[in-house]
Amino acid sequence: MSYKYLILLWFVIYSAVTVSAQNCNRTLKGRVLDSHDKTPLEFVSIYIKETATSFTTDSVGSFLIDQLCAKGYHISFSYIGYENRDMFISTVSDSTITVLLDQGCHVLGEVEVTASNENEGLQNSQNINAQYLNQNSNQNLSELLQHISGVSSIKSGGDIGIPVVQGMYGNRLMIMNNGIAQAGQQWGLDHSPEIDPGIAKYIKVIKGVAALQYQGSSLGNVILIDPGSIGIEPHFHAKINYSYATNGRSNNFHTELKNVTHGIGWKVIATLKKGGDKRTSDYYLTNTGNRMENIAVQLEKSISKKWKNQLFFSTFHSKNGILRGSHIGNISDLQEALHRDVPFFTASEFSYDIDRPFQDVRHTLTKVTTKYYFTDNNKLEFNYAYQKNIRKEFDIRRSNDNTNPALSLSLDSHFAELQYEGELNSKATIHTGVQFNNILNTNIPETDILPLIPNYASQQLGFFGIYKANFDHWNYEMGTRLEFIDLKVATISQSLPRIIEHFQNTFLNKSLSLGISRDVVNSWNTTLNIGFTQRQPAVNELYSNGLHQGVSGIEIGNSTLNPEASMKTSLTLSGKLIEKLKLETTVYLQRINNYIYLYPDSEVRLTIRGAFPVFRYGQTNASIAGWDVDLKYAPHYRWLLNFQSSLLKGKDITHQTRLIYMPSNNGKLTLQHIVPKMGKIKNMTFQLSENWVFRQKSSELVQDFLPPPSGYSLLGASISGDLHLKSVKCTFYLNAENLLNTKYRDYLNRMRYFADDTGLNVVIGALIGI
């Protein structure tokens, strides 16, 4: 930290403390309500940073604060089971406010966020709030998302994981990074999304039936990572978060600085992570270390009251080691590795070193947004985004001198969209837009290996329109989307002599969705959604050709595949079962025709490394049915009991078999106790949780090497608290995962073929905010 920066920090703290007192006879009145059913909340802690004083709400959720000076105050509201809310409130005159606190099932962040945030309409969505993000800064994106019921993660050991939402992942799940579809190499099961979750103000998962306003190839579900708006509050705020995790001995550092100066809002975010070999209950997972660096800059400028602009830039780099003992040369190596208790090459000592095999990934995103408001409720929005993704995967090469990557891809994506959102009349709104995307993917010729994925150029032109209306207590939503895709491929022939071959595919995806919801009546809310969506085959499904090291098989694409067609129905119910017992539950049924999957061919290919099984891309009809439950019981304002569960069954209807890599049924019980004040510590929170994962029903062993592992349960605990020192707020946290050091293997962890899952992990960290 530079000298200048320290002076700046000191100046800011000093000026915040020495505000002169004048005209201090203002009062602030207000009520705190549940954002969902508007019931008043009693015993909500209210803390004023400038005066370092605390208040609580009364039995009707009201509060009164007097002797305030004629300026502005930073006030935070916190309540068990709800997301903390920090507000900057002007007290130039006496004022009355209503504060809505959110339980995380529906998004209602800060006022300006809600205003600018795309509303998800009637689609069911759940989010991870800033508090959870801050106190789990050691986790990667897919680990964080597992906190939401119905979301799992396919892991590839170490720090590599991709999220699975209601059974959809990879090419079928879209990840929106700051409103832009993440353009990377999503086809790989071992390709983590190239996103630092630290940039997010919140992360939202839309468990929908059709994602109409988003460009990309989703079959309903979307993950939104949103850095939020900077707002207009003209104060310098800084946040520094550091945590240390014992498993992998990882150091995680995150900082965020923001202010509004000369009418320009700016925010700088930086994240650094370094971890070494993780450990199971018995041994080190050699070569599972990770590195991650990310820097993001956000600028906001309003040119007039009607014209608002935002610039966002982020650059991401990660290096992830892959378990050394999971690297295999042929099918007999695999058979040998499958039958070992401890993998080959397991070192007896911990190490931070990352050797081959490892992945090295870079991703940059540059985004420009400009919005023009005709009126408060009618706006035109234009977005342009450029993404560059460079992925290099380093394998063990035949020659130890060969330091070249085995896979080296560079991807460029240009995206532009124009959207209009406005009122038709007082009861109906329309949201429509046109989107264009150009992707160029190129193999960098440094591998000395025939590429698995060809070079390609893809252009997509999309149009969508969504109509919403509400009458009495009923809300209606109708929408459609059309997307035209032109894919041009240049590939190297498999036959000899090698020549360059060119192919072209065009697709037209059509989507439709319909939603009906009934507003809170007797504190119950019901939503029914039906959606039809299509997804064009991805380039790997069409044209991959070659040995896929990870699956120890030869993968052959099929250029005649048709788009997948999904029909999904989802019913969500939320409300109070009895006083203090809240339920939110979703049942869904998705039928996918032309479901694209890999099937084992009868051909076995003989090579100089022995015989390899051949897998080809084919299509079948599939169905996925599931049930997500979230139950919260708050018998007292200091106690909260939360039960979450998700059940899912994925079937191949044509062949009457199970779909592979579907999440196991699972449940989680969490008990939380909060002490609003314990000496100088505020909001002292104790939490205990038990997580059950049941054994997955076996998919056929021709598609999988081993039957699914047994079920397991893990115990976790955490403690956190806030300490206010003048205008500095310090939050400390201690989380323990797998407290009993249970030995287990998870069905969705692809390292389960070779090694146990990770053992006890204790994370200790502190967050300092001014």
Binding site: W307, G329, S332, I449, N455, I608
Partner: protein, 200 residues
């Protein structure tokens, strides 16, 4: 440059026209970006092993027998060409393995490379029913066998198989690994080729 200046000037121009011009220019810019894929570079597959030759010369130098496995397109769909010859009963042969990459021109001898990195490689000879014994006749810098050179002794008339396996980064000090037992070797398989053996 003109376009850029125009673009920036209009960013500051506060009006609806300015806004629309910004949008239109960005869309034109998008279309100007290329939409054809770049032709890939056909790689020089330096690491490919296309050809394995196992040459046996009887100890009296009278007989030369050749086993070979040749697969020019690597993992591609073309089937490999396999050649077998018959061995004589109760005879001792000196075995010599050669690995080549014949897919590049000129072809390269990979056995040299294996010998140079001898500490990190070992061949294993797994015999099934053929009644022959294979003994190592070479050593790496640590005194462990590599397996490019071998001594083969045949027994009575028999028919069976011989599998030749090349492991990269095996544990060469593992239990019985230097005697040619593969069980505790580990490492990755670079070659696994099976020949039919007829001893007559």
């Amino acid at each position: 440059m003109h376009l850029k200046r125009y673009f920036c000037a209009h960013l500051l121009y506060v009006s609806m026209t300015g806004y629309f011009r910004l949008v239109v220019f960005s869309l034109i810019f998008m279309y100007l970006i290329g939409c054809e894929p770049i032709d890939p570079v056909i790689p020089n597959e330096e690491e490919l092993i296309t050809t394995l030759e196992f040459r046996l010369v009887s100890s009296d130098q009278q007989d030369t027998i050749l086993f070979s496995f040749k697969d020019l397109d690597g993992d591609g769909g073309l089937s490999p060409v396999i050649q077998n010859e018959k061995l004589k009963v109760h005879t001792t042969y000196n075995g010599m393995l050669t690995l080549r990459n014949d897919a590049i021109n000129p072809s390269s001898d990979i056995s040299m490379e294996v010998e140079e990195e001898g500490n990190a490689h070992q061949f294993f000879y797994v015999v099934n029913n053929a009644g022959i014994s294979v003994k190592y006749a070479d050593k790496d810098a640590n005194g462990n066998p590599i397996g490019l050179k071998t001594t083969i002794t045949t027994g009575n008339q028999a028919t069976g198989e011989l599998t030749i396996i090349l492991r990269h980064n095996p544990d060469k000090f593992g239990s019985s690994v230097s005697d040619g037992l593969i069980d505790q070797a580990g490492g990755e398989t670079d070659i696994e080729v099976t020949f039919q053996i007829d001893v007559i």
